[in-house]
């Protein structure tokens, strides 16, 4: 790619997207970063450099940061695990049906975000499918409220929503693994689990990282789902960021919150990459 970009024609082809990226993402992000070091005084922006906003984030909102990242890690791990089993099945267990399974995954993308969240609200609610089935079978007499308005509901709803996005990169990684290497391992006497850990897992590491990252970053930034199905004790940082840019009239603090979350997310993802590199390496 680097070599290709040295050619003027290729550089020209990349220029529009690069300019778009610089103008509409990098520049605004830099402005927001700068804003995070300013302060509001009497509802007016004071352009003096200070770290107070960042201190406020980590002293005043550490509990919500923990909730946010705890929720995001659980959901990202759950989503990646389920997505991997699905993609693995489509690629190696029933490869004949792989394309059909992938088409079904793509089909689920047609459902909008809120549509899916509200669907789960209906399913998990007191008169929803689960409670109705349990009551019909005599397993319970009264609907169980805790299916909905709980952290579990958030995990279920977001995992379901993120699954297609996580399956696609994983399936792509698994598709790139040739049958020959797996068959060669078997021919040489490797057991199934050994070829899995030594052949398949190392080669789909990138897919796992992408899958985890997508699910993690989406969840860290989400606050709508917890509001709709999470119950009274699942306030995530997105809520407070929104507050600062809205009713609190405090964009500097909101910007500091945003960049703190971005930095912490980078740390979590970096740690996940290191961990995966360690686990998924050929022995």
């Amino acid at each position: 790619m680097a070599l290709a970009l040295r050619r003027p024609a290729h550089t020209a082809l990349a220029a529009p997207s690069a300019v778009f990226f610089l103008v509409f993402f990098v520049a605004p992000a830099l402005h927001l970063l700068l804003t995070s070091f300013w302060q509001m005084r009497s509802y007016k922006l004071a352009h003096d450099f200070t770290l107070e906003n960042y201190i406020e984030v980590f002293t005043g909102y550490w509990d919500s940061i923990l909730v946010t990242f705890g929720m995001a890690i659980v959901i990202a791990l759950t989503t990646t695990a389920v997505a991997f089993f699905f993609a693995y099945s489509a690629r190696f267990v029933v490869p004949r049906w792989g394309n059909l399974m992938l088409a079904l995954v793509m089909f689920t993308l047609f459902g909008g975000y809120l549509t899916k969240i509200y669907a789960w609200k209906t399913i998990l609610g007191p008169s929803g499918a689960i409670n109705s089935a349990l009551i019909a079978t005599g397993a319970i007499e009264q609907p169980i409220d805790m299916f909905l308005y709980s952290p579990v509901a958030v995990v279920v709803a977001l995992t379901h929503y993120l699954l297609p996005l996580s399956i696609l990169p994983l399936y792509g990684s698994l598709r790139s693994i040739g049958d020959q290497s797996v068959e060669a391992a078997c021919d040489l006497g490797a057991r199934r689990w050994r070829s899995f850990f030594d052949i398949i897992l190392p080669q789909c590491r990138t897919g796992l990282v992408v899958s985890f990252t997508l699910a993690f970053l989406f969840t860290v930034g989400d606050y709508v789902t917890p509001r709709l199905v999470g119950g009274p004790v699942t306030s995530m940082m997105g809520v407070f960021i929104q507050n600062q840019f809205g009713s609190r009239f405090n964009p500097p603090l909101g910007a500091a919150m945003s960049f703190s979350i971005i930095a912490l997310s980078a740390l979590v993802i970096g740690f996940a990459v290191l961990l995966l590199t360690r686990i998924a390496r050929p022995r």
Binding site: V239, N243, F249
Partner: protein, 391 residues
């Protein structure tokens, strides 16, 4: 008003705009808002919103609650008057202020502030003084609302009341024994897990402040009283509430689904359930309840003054007010009441509005924007609200 925008969430969104009550409510979209949004989009298309205006049409910039603009256009009034609306919908009063301060003066025309929030608008010199002689329909406004606190200052009018309502105690009469008459009834053991609270700062903090202090003029709270209020809210959240509803529409759905049986309500919640609506009753508790008046106003140095006055006058026309009533808002003019259905007429006490406001503790005002040295400011209340959210 948050809720307002909550409303956004709901089908309500469309007609959102409520006053205080709807302050800073986050506005995730819900199925209802989506459906209504589609309807609104279709209607907008049919009405010509977003279409290339005819050469002679006056393009008026509207920054306000979604739905109120459609009421003005009842009967195709805009097209008949060669006016097109360039609408920007809001989720909170703060958005209007921010837009006006960020270059909106001289660009924006019509806005929809809530009366209790008007002092903040006037402090920022954001609104144009109104010439009531150009708004003849103002004479039809119920006397109670012609003098709504905030709409005038030093004898000069800066806003027109457009709709009204309150946030009383609301319950499902089929499932609740007796008649609850206090905010403290929300804490009765039998309602554990059967109640909720809308994420509406003003409605929630003021209603619970009434419970914590026993008085209705809770826009003036000491720090100790605010702490008590927030503690009570946290206790409610942890011990009683099923969830925090993101919008009034969601609360209405919870009533309809019988997930909850009692809560701080808003009159329209009792009918939003449609065919699924339960036997919902409401009453102003003995401690009082917040009320609000939504307004139309003209931004200072508005570019289309003549068209703006036409719109302001039309916002008080009977057909526009009747359209508001379709969204379950309280109409503000006497001549609109005969156009309402019996159900709509029964929703609000049009026969004795003054008594209604007196029972609820008088017109609700916003917490002080600037500190007076004794009472907490609105910003301090928001600090307390975030403490509640994190708890």
């Amino acid at each position: 008003m948050t809720a307002e925008r909550n409303r956004a969430n709901d089908r309500i969104l469309p007609k959102a705009g409520s006053g205080l009550v709807h302050f800073r409510v986050p506005v995730p979209m819900t199925r209802r808002s989506f459906g209504k949004g589609m309807l609104a989009a279709g209607a907008a298309g049919a009405l010509g919103f977003g279409a290339r205006p005819a050469a002679a049409a006056t393009e008026v910039r509207y920054n306000g609650w979604q739905g109120l603009d459609a009421s003005v256009d009842a009967g195709g009034w805009l097209a008949k008057n060669d006016i097109t609306l360039q609408a920007t919908y809001i989720n909170s009063n703060e958005e209007i202020i921010a837009a006006a301060q960020a270059g909106g003066i001289g660009q924006m025309d019509i806005v929809t502030p809530d009366a209790y929030f008007l002092p903040a608008y006037l402090a920022g010199d954001l609104l144009q003084e109104l010439d009531l002689s150009r708004i003849p329909n103002f004479a039809n406004v119920f006397p109670q609302f012609q003098n709504s606190p905030g709409i005038s200052k030093d004898g000069k009018y800066f806003a027109l009341p457009n709709y009204w309502g309150s946030c009383p105690l609301m319950w499902n009469a089929d499932l609740v024994q007796g008649t609850p008459d206090s905010w403290h009834d929300l804490f009765r053991p039998e309602f554990k897990g059967k109640t909720a609270i809308v994420e509406d700062v003003i409605a929630a903090t003021m209603s619970f402040a009434m419970a914590a202090t026993g008085r209705s003029d809770v826009y003036n709270l000491t720090q100790e009283e605010l702490d008590k209020t927030i503690d009570l809210l946290i206790k409610f959240k942890k011990e009683q509430a099923l969830t925090i509803a993101p919008s009034w529409g969601d609360l209405a759905s919870m009533f309809a689904n019988e997930e909850i049986v009692i809560a701080i309500g808003w009159e329209p919640c009792s009918i939003w359930g449609g065919a699924d609506a339960k036997n919902i009753k409401w009453a102003v508790p003995k401690e009082g309840a917040i009320n609000f008046v939504g307004c139309f106003a003209m931004v200072r140095d508005a570019p289309n003054v003549d068209a703006d006055y036409l719109i302001l006058n039309q916002s008080l026309a009977p057909e526009a007010q009747a359209a508001n009533a379709n969204e379950a808002f309280g109409v503000i003019t006497a001549d609109a009441v005969p156009l309402l259905t019996p159900e709509q007429q029964a929703l609000y006490p049009y026969g004795d509005i003054p008594s209604y406001f007196e029972a609820s503790g008088g017109a609700t005002r916003l917490y002080p924007i600037e500190s007076d040295g004794t009472h907490v400011t609105y910003d301090q209340v928001l600090d307390g609200w975030e403490k509640f959210q994190r708890a």
